[in-house]
């Protein structure tokens, strides 16, 4: 799973030479075999490394504040979102929905690596949502739809239909 995600990221970043990956342990943590340095372990670590390699540092944030926010959501993705239980999913979606109320992207007004990895990580959850649930998490759905249509992001994942107009009456959330 993580490996496909990294391949998609590579394609988005336009990295030409294919990297070699392996996985470690039962949780299948990705490992990047690096020719000019020690191997790198961990999805976020490798993703950040690829972004730097592609000379796209703006994807990690332009200033210290933004960089910290990006890191925070990357960490959120791997510690909270991955392997969360059904009950936790609801809280995660609810919190994210409130957070995104006044934001276009996770780091505010600019698109960053946090959007990409959160999108990859949350996809399997959004796919399972009923239309009505998607409407409950309106801001998440809007953000998700936005990211899946961002050029060059989706790659290995099927599109998820998000309705633009509301089907259900409001008042449920």
């Amino acid at each position: 799973m993580a490996l496909r995600e990294l391949n998609s990221l590579e394609r988005f970043l336009g990295l030409k030479k294919a990297n070699k990956y392996s996985t470690q342990g039962g949780k299948k943590v990705p490992v990047l075999q690096n020719n000019n340095g020690p191997a790198l372990t961990g999805l976020v670590t490798i993703a950040c490394h690829l972004v730097k390699e592609a000379k796209r540092p703006e994807l990690l944030g332009d200033d210290a504040e933004q960089r910290a926010v990006v890191q925070q959501w990357l960490e959120h993705r791997i510690t909270k979102l991955d392997n969360c239980s059904k009950e936790e999913v609801k809280v995660i979606l609810k919190d994210l929905n409130r957070y995104l109320e006044d934001k276009v992207y996770l780091a505010g007004n600019v698109f960053t690596l946090a959007d990409i990895l959160m999108y990859y990580g949350i996809h399997h959850i959004i796919v399972e949502l009923a239309i009505q649930e998607k409407e409950c998490y309106l801001n998440v759905s809007r953000w998700f739809d936005h990211i899946q249509h961002y050029p060059g992001i989706r790659h290995h994942l099927p599109p998820v239909v998000v309705l633009r107009n509301r089907v259900y009456p409001s008042g449920h959330h």
Partner: protein, 922 residues
């Protein structure tokens, strides 16, 4: 900028150290644990850094990173990697181990939890030449890791083993003054003790492998360390192959206890006859007991599994009146329904009987007389309502009236449905006979009571030995203990009814036994109907081990009341040794309800078209062990598709297909290398776990072991790629042969371990593989052994797929059919009236914005369902169009959509319109 911290919060350690070290100026504020600082987070967390822009950072590591970043130390690949490892690997272990130390004082267990991450750190540090993790100076990585470990490593009583490099590094970071002052501020010199109140508020973390109710199967499959000796031993056992294992002959009825054997008697709580059992009943009793019984037979125990319908009592009389039949006719009818449902679920009883038999009368009356002779019965007068019109005393359920507590007008004679309080029937205001509606009069009537207080001492003595030696589930122990703690009172054993076992005492001619006294005796009488030598099971505690299976509401009758009857009768009865009680199974976040038509009932399961084995699998997968669980259609489809189809079925099918495609259906030669031996050892370890768990009746956990076996198998095939190697040179082809051979043997083991859970699937694997008769028994004997039961040259049969995919549409249709529709809406309507479901229903829906609100003839419930269907169908049409599907195919779906829209209009009380233009633009 402002930093919010909490008292005794270990996460604050790192941010305080980083703050001082970075020299950034920032105000800090101490807030309470439960105080909400970040408005958008549901659960309050600390520490929080409020950035100059007003944004909040709620991840301690990101806060540290930020502080280092603004002071000029940017993140590098190396620091990122350590921070990621800390967050994903170290932190969960630290939290669990801190809880063990501070809350339970278990330092040895805590050290075991920390072993893996600490030895990884030790390895990494000993390879480095720098003083700190990434450099010669302290970086953010050092602060973060040090702070995580500090509360443990600074505790002198915590012994994590020999960690030279870690100790050296730890001391160096400790000597940094910023770290010292942060440590003092958070722990205040009290060590992990200072974190106690914080840790108590955290959810208890378990070892990820067992006991975790988490749905993520992938997380559970943590690698287990296998020692070289273990691996070698497993490979040795495997290679020895199947020795002459005496094939045991067919079960011969009647099964009777045998000298020198393990004699196991299994009962499942007797289902009450007047209703069709729902899924919760099935998993709670008969299915759980069936898995254990099948397992026991495979293990070679001498085992008898009996059950039957409980038929006497008021509820049957009521039902009979409702349906215009006699109680006997009702029992006959429903007994057949029960029997056929259990047959469909493949419940392999040795005997499925009933309680309305002559044996029941004889045995119940015998126990009664023995209790009477020994002075364990009391006589008392009870005031009761009597209906002069019907010429009889009215049992609780035959009388209705106004609740004396809440004035609810339709309270029953035993309980008020509105306020839930227990009522004594004579307290009802304006009582009415349920049958003739006349007002009953109060008359006194003599009754017999079982003198439980007199038996209490004997009971406690027996309970002590039984619960100590046997397997009693935690809930069974709790419930029993709380009954004893409250003190036992005499319990009435007679009732003024006709449909029951008659009381033989001349003074009580008109009365029958109360069902709770009568029903458990059913176990004995049903066995007596099975064999005239029933006493060899039931009056033989020396030779027989008794297992009772039930849901938790039935515990007191099996652990207190019935044992008292048997103890008082003093006839060397077999008493329960192992009491297995489940929690409740809910239906899609609500309760099963026959009256509301919510939930799946036994007779409907087969109409779903989903095979009995898949039902068994899913019910067992979510067997409510330890806590309530809930049946969910989506989850069922998911588990079927991910676990059965993609994991288990995929592996077994591939293993078999390789044999038939590449090796002409003959198992190839196997030359084991280290990879093969490792797999064999892994599978063998899972097998031993499986046996240990099932011996303790941990049915759900044992099922996970099976899935782990095939998961290991899939990984093994994936890694070794026999389908590629078969096309290579001689060496590669030989390798392909070994991998195929080992895989197909794992498949054969899977057939064995699946038998208790999915008997039909097990049988078809065995016939596809032409597995030797004795293979299952051989592998499941003793502690368990994974043996090469299909040796080189063994010819297998025709291989075919075992499972089918459950499609979304199919599942959605089933969900609708069985109610529990849109559980969110329902729960919103029931539980939180503030969400005003009424207002929601009467509003026109936005999909048809120009429509007027629903008129009087409208059906808002139906409209809601249709709205969902329209949306779904619309989605389907759009998807087809997007895929550029064939015109005709699209046309069919569009027609369905239009039809649904018309229905929706009707349900909303409107005349259907020709398709509006705007629908196109959705």
């Amino acid at each position: 900028m402002k930093l919010f911290i909490g008292e005794g919060n270990p996460h604050c350690l790192k941010v305080l150290a980083a703050l001082e070290l970075s020299g950034v100026r920032c105000e800090t504020q101490l807030v309470k644990h439960e105080e909400k600082v970040v408005p958008y987070l549901t659960h309050p967390v600390l520490p929080i850094l409020q950035l100059p822009s007003g944004q909040h950072l709620f991840s301690p590591n990101s806060i540290c990173q930020y502080l280092f970043d603004v002071s000029g130390q940017k993140a590098t690949d190396a620091t990122n990697q350590w921070l990621e490892w800390e967050a994903t690997n170290l932190q969960p272990a630290v939290l669990q181990s801190l809880q063990l130390v501070a809350l339970q004082g278990k330092r040895v267990e805590a050290a075991a939890v920390m072993k893996e991450p600490l030895s990884w750190l030790e390895q990494s540090l000993s390879k480095r030449k720098t003083s700190f993790l990434t450099d010669e100076v302290v970086s953010v990585a050092d602060v973060v890791l040090w702070a995580a470990l500090y509360p443990l490593l600074s505790d002198s009583a915590f012994e994590p083993g020999d960690l030279q490099a870690v100790r050296g590094w730890f001391e160096r970071v400790c000597s940094v003054s910023a770290c010292q002052s942060a440590a003092l501020r958070v722990l205040q010199g009290k060590g992990a003790e200072a974190l106690k109140s914080f840790l108590q508020k955290q959810p208890v973390t378990h070892t990820p492998r067992r006991d975790s109710p988490s749905n993520s199967t992938e997380a559970e499959d943590s690698e287990r360390e296998l020692s070289p000796e273990e691996i070698e031993e497993a490979a040795q056992v495997y290679s020895e192959g199947l020795k002459d294992f005496t094939v045991v002959t067919e079960r011969k009825h009647p099964v009777l206890p045998q000298e020198g054997k393990r004699n196991v008697l299994i009962t499942s709580a007797l289902p009450y006859v007047n209703n069709v059992p729902h899924l919760g009943n099935i998993i709670g009793c008969v299915l759980s007991a069936d898995v254990f019984a099948r397992y026991g037979r495979l293990r070679g125990w001498n085992l008898l599994y009996i059950c039957g319908t409980d038929e006497y009592g008021t509820a049957t009389e009521n039902k009979a009146r409702e349906e215009g039949l006699t109680p006997q006719q009702i029992c006959d009818k429903y007994h057949c329904i029960h029997a056929s449902i259990y047959q469909w679920f493949q419940i392999d009883f040795d005997f499925f009987g009933r309680t309305t038999t002559q044996h029941q009368t004889e045995i119940a009356q015998d126990i009664f007389w023995r209790l009477h002779e020994r002075g364990f019965l009391l006589e008392d007068t009870v005031e009761q309502l009597r209906c002069e019109g019907c010429q009889r005393f009215l049992a609780d359920r035959f009388v209705e009236g106004e609740c004396p507590h809440c004035r609810f007008p339709e309270a029953r004679g035993d309980q008020c449905d509105k306020c839930g309080r227990l009522i004594n029937a004579v307290e009802l205001k304006n009582p009415q006979c349920k049958v003739c509606k006349e007002t009953p009069v109060i008359r006194s009537s003599k009754h017999l009571f079982l003198n439980l207080p007199k038996l209490e001492q004997d009971l406690e003595q027996w309970l002590q030995t039984s619960t100590a030696a046997g397997d009693w589930t935690t809930n069974a122990r709790h419930i029993t203990r709380s009954w004893l703690r409250d003190g036992l009172k005499p319990r009435c054993i007679t009732r003024d009814l006709k449909w029951g076992t008659p009381v033989p005492h001349p003074d009580y001619k008109e009365k029958v036994f109360y069902v709770w006294f009568d029903a458990p005796i059913g176990y004995l009488s049903i066995t007596a109907n099975y064999t005239d030598q029933w006493e060899r099971w039931w009056k033989n505690p020396q030779q027989v081990e008794l297992y009772n299976f039930m849901a938790k509401d039935n515990v007191p009758f099996h652990s207190v009341v019935f044992p008292c009857s048997l103890l008082g009768a003093q006839d060397n009865y077999t008493l329960v040794n192992n009491l297995i009680a489940t929690e409740y199974l809910n239906y899609e976040d609500t309760k099963f309800s026959k009256s509301r038509g919510v939930g799946v009932f036994g007779d409907m399961a087969k109409d779903t078209g989903i095979p009995s084995d898949v039902w068994r699998f899913y019910l067992l997968y979510l067997r409510p062990e330890g806590q309530d669980s809930a049946f969910s259609w989506t989850d069922m489809a998911l588990k079927n598709n991910s676990e059965l189809l993609n994991n288990l079925g995929n592996f077994i099918n591939r293993a078999g297909m390789f044999v038939s495609k590449f090796f002409d259906g003959c198992v190839p030669e196997m030359l084991l290398n280290d990879d093969d031996k490792r797999l064999i050892a892994q599978v063998c370890w899972e097998l031993k776990q499986y046996i240990q768990l099932l011996d303790k009746v941990r049915i759900r956990d044992a099922l996970k072991c099976i899935l782990n076996m095939s998961r290991h198998g899939n990984q093994y095939i994936q890694l070794n790629e026999p389908w590629k190697k078969i096309k290579g040179g001689a060496e590669d082809r030989c390798r392909a042969g070994t991998v195929t051979g080992v895989s197909v043997n794992v498949a054969c083991l899977l057939a064995a371990v699946l038998e208790p859970f999915m008997p039909t699937v097990s049988l078809s694997i065995r016939s596809q593989l032409q597995a030797p008769e004795s293979s299952s028994r051989a592998m499941l004997s003793g502690p368990g052994a994974f043996i090469c039961t299909l040796p080189a040259g063994h010819r297998i049969g025709t291989v075919s797929p075992l499972f089918q995919k459950l499609e979304n549409e199919q599942i959605e249709a089933l969900r609708k059919r069985f109610g529990g529709l849109q559980p969110e809406e329902e729960s919103a309507g029931l539980k939180t009236p503030s969400n005003s479901s009424v207002a929601v229903e009467s509003k026109p829906n936005a999909g048809a914005a120009q429509h007027t609100p629903a008129s009087v003839t409208a059906d808002p419930e139906r409209a809601k369902q249709l709205t969902a269907l329209v949306a779904e169908q619309g989605e389907k049409v759009r998807a087809l169009k997007a895929q550029k599907a064939e015109k005709s195919a699209i046309g069919v779906e569009v027609a369905k959509l239009l039809d649904l829209k018309n229905q929706l209009c009707l349900a909303e009380g409107k005349t259907p319109e020709p398709p509006a233009q705007k629908t196109k633009k959705k």
